[in-house]
């Protein structure tokens, strides 16, 4: 009961915080639409894609993954803020301890990432035609995509000690994951080293999974996408539990005031 209450408390807190950080929420949602409709409008005229897809239709799965990935990972990485501002030790002092705290944060990242991806999915008719079944399958895929994003975010946050590194994480982790994934251009056209990187990039399988649910040409089998994402989420969560140092920064630096 204690663990469930802790998980629920963390999820509710994260949802409240997300709805009150409107500029961050709007920016997170605007990012995929800017790519698909502003950048994509230019690419439409020069891109020649398999199956006669427009570039905007091709990029839409990537845009949806982008929303879920950023929403899920950034929610999970907010653990660094909690560590910096003293809220993490409060959570770690709960009787249910580290696993519940990480599970709660992974769940809230899944919900927030899934919801942001879901909003992009709900607007899919602006660029692609989907059947009801394709919407439903895409929504199911989003759950796995957001969960994997959240656990990857937790892994990044496990040893990140300062919010000053936050911008660096976005530039050095999130964007490379997205660019080397087939979200914005087909991996088939990438140089061999980048293509090899794409093969081990979980985001590649997120995008490929959505291409399946959208009925677009995909690179891998559906089962491989699902298995790869489930494995990535499991490994990321497991490694986070091992790497997570509950004593980190409790002594030696006073947290700043909580007027965030």
């Amino acid at each position: 009961m204690s663990a469930a209450a802790t998980v629920r408390g963390i999820v509710v807190r994260d949802l409240i915080r997300t709805t009150r950080q409107r500029s961050r929420l709007i920016a997170g949602l605007a990012r995929p639409f800017i790519w698909v409709f502003l950048v994509g409008a230019g690419f439409n005229s020069i891109a020649r894609l398999e199956g006669g897809l427009t570039y905007q239709a091709f990029a839409y799965p990537g845009g949806m993954v982008m929303a879920a990935l950023f929403g899920g990972m950034l929610t999970a990485i907010s653990t660094v803020y909690d560590r910096e501002f003293g809220m993490l030790r409060l959570m770690l002092a709960s009787p249910s301890g580290v696993p519940s705290v990480l599970a709660g944060r992974a769940l809230s990242a899944t919900i927030i990432g899934g919801a942001q991806g879901g909003i992009v999915l709900a607007c899919a008719s602006l660029a692609v035609h989907l059947t009801f079944q394709q919407y439903a399958l895409s929504a199911a895929a989003l759950v796995l995509i957001a969960l994997t994003s959240g656990t990857l975010g937790l892994l990044v946050a496990a040893r990140l000690t300062s919010v000053e590194n936050f911008g660096g994480v976005i530039n050095m982790v999130l964007f490379p994951l997205l660019f080397v994934s087939g979200a914005l251009y087909p991996t088939a056209g990438m140089p061999a080293p980048l293509r090899a990187l794409a093969r081990v990039n979980p985001v590649t399988y997120m995008v490929d999974l959505v291409r399946h649910t959208f009925g677009q040409p995909a690179e891998f089998a559906l089962s491989l996408d699902v298995a790869a994402l489930a494995a990535a989420a499991t490994v990321a969560f497991g490694v986070t539990v091992v790497l997570f140092d509950p004593e980190q920064r409790f002594v030696g630096k006073k947290p700043a005031a909580a007027n965030r």
Partner: protein, 318 residues
């Protein structure tokens, strides 16, 4: 919260804290050498000492947020290393900086704290309403915490820590930065926790006047306990009075007082000597009157601050 997890119920003979040789190193730095502490349930214990003495480390060890490098400790018979969940169920924590989320309202912060303590549904609602009333935060319940003044934010922090009615409250410098009004309000709330529920309170402070009402004052210096007595006993060990002596002839006068056997404890502070004396006031004044180069001589009853200087600083012989 009631006794849980098979631990003995609260009672006169129950020990809230038992620590034996509890210590912690950070790499090659020995933050806490060996803490021996026995705290009966319902006590008010003040932990004082210079910065870096090991107070925060001791509190985090007892709160199970740090693992001990050596020694053992139990909180209501729950081992801090082997039964962390058992300890945490009995514990309310207040850190040096308020742990309230500025984006959440006061009530939402309490709801969050309740969920971390395992409270849900009607039990959580009842505890929150009762806590809001008890702490005077009712009118601020819907206010985002970041809009509160530092004093009210600290009270919200106390409300958070006491929401689940813990048997042991550990407070690390809870009054830092508070004005006298909020400090008084905070101590009033903590007094009520002891009086009404029999809660045990372990707090650290740099304001030694706050340690005066404590049942015992534990002084730490350089990672070790250097005193552990009631404030009255600690003061009595300094003598009947303390002389503050400053000026070029201060060393000679202290030497003379020591020679005639009046000095119990002496410490040289930045503003001269503080000397605990056993003789009569007249005798001391008489000796001082004949000593040259004394710019200032004040004789007064001993305070905890005198004890602090005498016990936590290295002794100096004139």
């Amino acid at each position: 919260m009631t006794a849980a997890g098979g631990a003995p119920a609260r009672g006169a003979a129950t020990l809230a804290i038992e620590a034996e040789g509890l210590g912690r190193d950070y790499g090659s730095t020995r933050a806490l050498d060996a803490l021996d502490l026995s705290v009966p349930a319902g006590s008010l214990i003040g932990l004082v000492g210079p910065n870096g003495a090991g107070k925060t480390t001791a509190m985090l060890l007892l709160a199970t947020l740090l693992a001990p490098t050596r020694g053992t400790a139990r909180v209501f018979s729950h081992d801090v290393a082997r039964d962390r969940a058992g300890v945490r169920r009995r514990l309310g924590l207040v850190f040096q900086e308020p742990s309230v989320d500025g984006l959440l309202t006061v009530e939402e912060n309490l709801r969050f704290a309740g969920s971390l303590a395992g409270l849900a549904g009607a039990a959580a609602h009842g505890a929150i309403q009762q806590t809001l009333t008890r702490t005077g935060l009712g009118s601020r319940a819907r206010q985002p915490a970041r809009q509160l003044s530092g004093g009210w934010r600290r009270l919200a922090d106390i409300a958070r820590a006491t929401l689940h009615q813990p048997d042991l409250l550990i407070l690390d410098e809870p009054t830092v930065g508070l004005d006298p009004e909020h400090r008084d309000r905070m101590w009033s709330l903590l007094d009520a926790e002891r009086r009404d529920r029999g809660a045990t309170i372990l707090f650290s402070t740099h304001y030694l006047s706050e340690a005066e009402p404590a049942d015992r004052v534990v002084m730490l210096a350089r990672g070790a306990v250097v005193a552990d007595e009631s404030p009255a006993t600690l003061r009595a060990a300094l003598g009947e009075q303390v002389a503050e002596i400053d000026g070029p002839g201060a060393d000679a006068l202290v030497g003379e007082l020591r020679r005639v056997g009046l000095v119990l404890l002496a410490h040289r502070a930045e503003r001269g000597w503080r000397v605990g004396l056993s003789g009569s006031r007249e005798r001391i004044t008489e000796l001082a009157a004949t000593a040259p180069g004394i710019a200032r001589l004040a004789i007064r009853p001993p305070t905890l601050e005198d004890v602090y200087f005498a016990r936590t600083q290295a002794p100096v012989t004139p």
